[in-house]
């Protein structure tokens, strides 16, 4: 027997009525779609394509430019690794601003994925006595060395473990990414990251339109919203196209090295096998894929 006036049927009817009322009132259905959008990982190819198409249209409307948003998956047989030569870095911060430009980072409020720490040679690697605020006429300064810190792309990323909604995860090529649409902005991941590599959009991100990088990746440098967390993705939009990250390309001393850890002929593997290598905060056992080495 059918129950005509059950609670379930009431909710069904009322929600249907609300939705149709909203639809009839001319409200933008795309906003609804975006609101009801599933986690990126659970989307089908078709759904992804339509979401990306809508995004491109939306960005064009908003910024008046053509954008290309990619959802290119990981290339099979790759595991990205990074190495930074501490004996070469001069602390010029070129990488910081190349990253800002490439990844469409908010200028004000300011977000930097890379923080270059100046440390005393006498003290060695010592975060407590380091500073990111150094500003002399010329670098390097005598008696100091420089340690740029960004996302260390851990093999055991605790930022991922603590996320209550699974809005962040490690891709098969080792890059830890964030689904900005799924992030609820609880900032647990920021508390869990011992490298300060995650950044929160406290305000509406602000990027000059003429400086927007139009080559985008859905999990990378597409415009973020207020209230979501973002992080370095090894320039996922470049790396998955075979290119070096922006920080590698800009480094004037060639201290930054990037490659595939699974390729025995890659420069990154040569460094791991032939140079003295260290990772930051090794005792935590997060197992970063970002190595520091001494090239001399």
């Amino acid at each position: 027997m059918k129950k005509e006036n059950s609670r379930r049927s009431f909710i069904k009817t009322i929600s249907l009525a609300t939705f149709s009322a909203l639809a009839l009132s001319g409200c933008d259905m795309k906003a609804f779609d975006a609101f009801l959008q599933k986690n990126f990982k659970t989307l089908s190819k078709k759904e992804k394509d339509s979401i990306i198409k809508n995004l491109e249209i939306k960005y064009k409307k908003k910024y008046g430019k053509e954008f290309h948003v990619s959802d290119k998956p990981a290339i099979e047989g790759t595991l990205f690794g990074y190495a930074l030569d501490l004996s070469r870095c001069v602390g010029c911060r070129r990488c910081v601003y190349a990253c800002v430009k490439e990844n469409n980072l908010s200028r004000a409020p300011q977000i930097h994925y890379i923080e270059v720490l100046q440390m005393e040679k006498e003290k060695g690697i010592d975060f407590a006595h380091s500073t990111a605020q150094y500003n002399p006429e010329k670098v390097p300064e005598k008696g100091y060395f420089y340690v740029p810190v960004q996302c260390q792309q851990c093999r055991k990323p605790q930022c991922v473990t603590v996320c209550p909604v699974k809005a962040t995860w490690q891709e098969p090529d080792g890059i830890v990414v964030v689904d900005y649409n799924w992030c609820i902005g609880c900032r647990y991941c920021m508390a869990a990251c011992p490298y300060g590599a995650r950044h929160f959009n406290w305000g509406e991100p602000n990027v000059p339109v003429e400086e927007l990088n139009t080559e985008m990746h859905y999990l990378g440098n597409r415009p973020r919203m207020k209230g979501v967390v973002e992080k370095c993705t090894f320039c996922i939009q470049r790396a998955r196209e075979g290119k070096y990250p922006a920080c590698v390309e800009i480094c004037p001393v060639g201290a930054r090295k990037f490659g595939n850890l699974l390729d025995p002929d890659s420069e990154i593997r040569y460094i791991l096998e032939n140079k003295r290598v260290l990772v930051l905060k090794q005792e935590l056992n997060f197992q970063p894929k970002f190595y520091y080495f001494f090239g001399i």
Binding site: R93, R94, A239, G242, P252
Partner: protein, 193 residues
């Protein structure tokens, strides 16, 4: 009887074996060396190494209008005597800081062919291959440069890469890396509004 025959062939036998071992052993080492020291440009066709070593190097960074050197030097009588240059190239003389106690122009530039560099062996070298000249002394740097660890690489992490010559970053006459002006420091957390 048997013992005698054995004794007779024992010594030459051992010698023979030794010779064989040495012959093949040394030959192996030699061919290994060839692999290592092969000039990368000549490696076309060798697919395995082709992928690892490809030297697409930018053109050497000459000052405007200075090359070819023979434009001026064709009419100048070469003078092999070590001296301080005063009339021409005095700027280089003034800045020269590359083991200046022991070296001067003609240790790297050729006396008779000014458009070429010269290795210590006397072999002439194009300016495009100047890394070989640097590698004579800085062998370990050349080794790291070849595998992409020393110096900057741009292009593709898994494909075509572009190299810079040593002289793109280090002035060959004063090779210490020049100091840079840093970009502005980040806004302090407490100043973010």
């Amino acid at each position: 009887m048997k013992d005698k025959i054995y004794r007779k062939i024992k010594i030459p036998g051992i010698l023979m074996a030794l010779y064989i071992v040495l012959y093949f052993g040394c030959n192996n080492i030699e061919s290994d060396n060839k692999e290592i020291y092969k000039v990368p440009d000549e490696k076309e066709g060798n697919k395995k190494i082709e992928k690892a070593i490809e030297y697409a190097v930018e053109a050497p960074p000459f000052s405007d209008g200075i090359f070819p050197c023979t434009d001026c030097h064709a009419n100048i009588k070469p003078n092999p005597e070590r001296r301080k240059l005063v009339e021409w190239h005095d700027d280089i003389s003034a800045m020269f800081n590359h083991d200046s106690e022991n070296r001067w122009c003609l240790d790297c530039h050729d006396l008779n062919n000014r458009d070429s560099l010269k290795l210590a062996s006397g072999k002439l070298l194009d300016f495009k291959e100047s890394y070989k000249l640097c590698g004579q002394c800085h062998g370990e740097k050349l080794r790291d440069w070849k595998v992409g660890v020393h110096g900057k690489r741009t292009g593709e992490w898994n494909g075509k890469k572009e190299y810079l010559l040593c002289v793109h970053c280090h002035n060959p006459h004063s090779p210490k890396f020049e100091e840079l002006t840093p970009e502005p420091p980040p806004v302090r957390q407490e100043d973010i509004k």
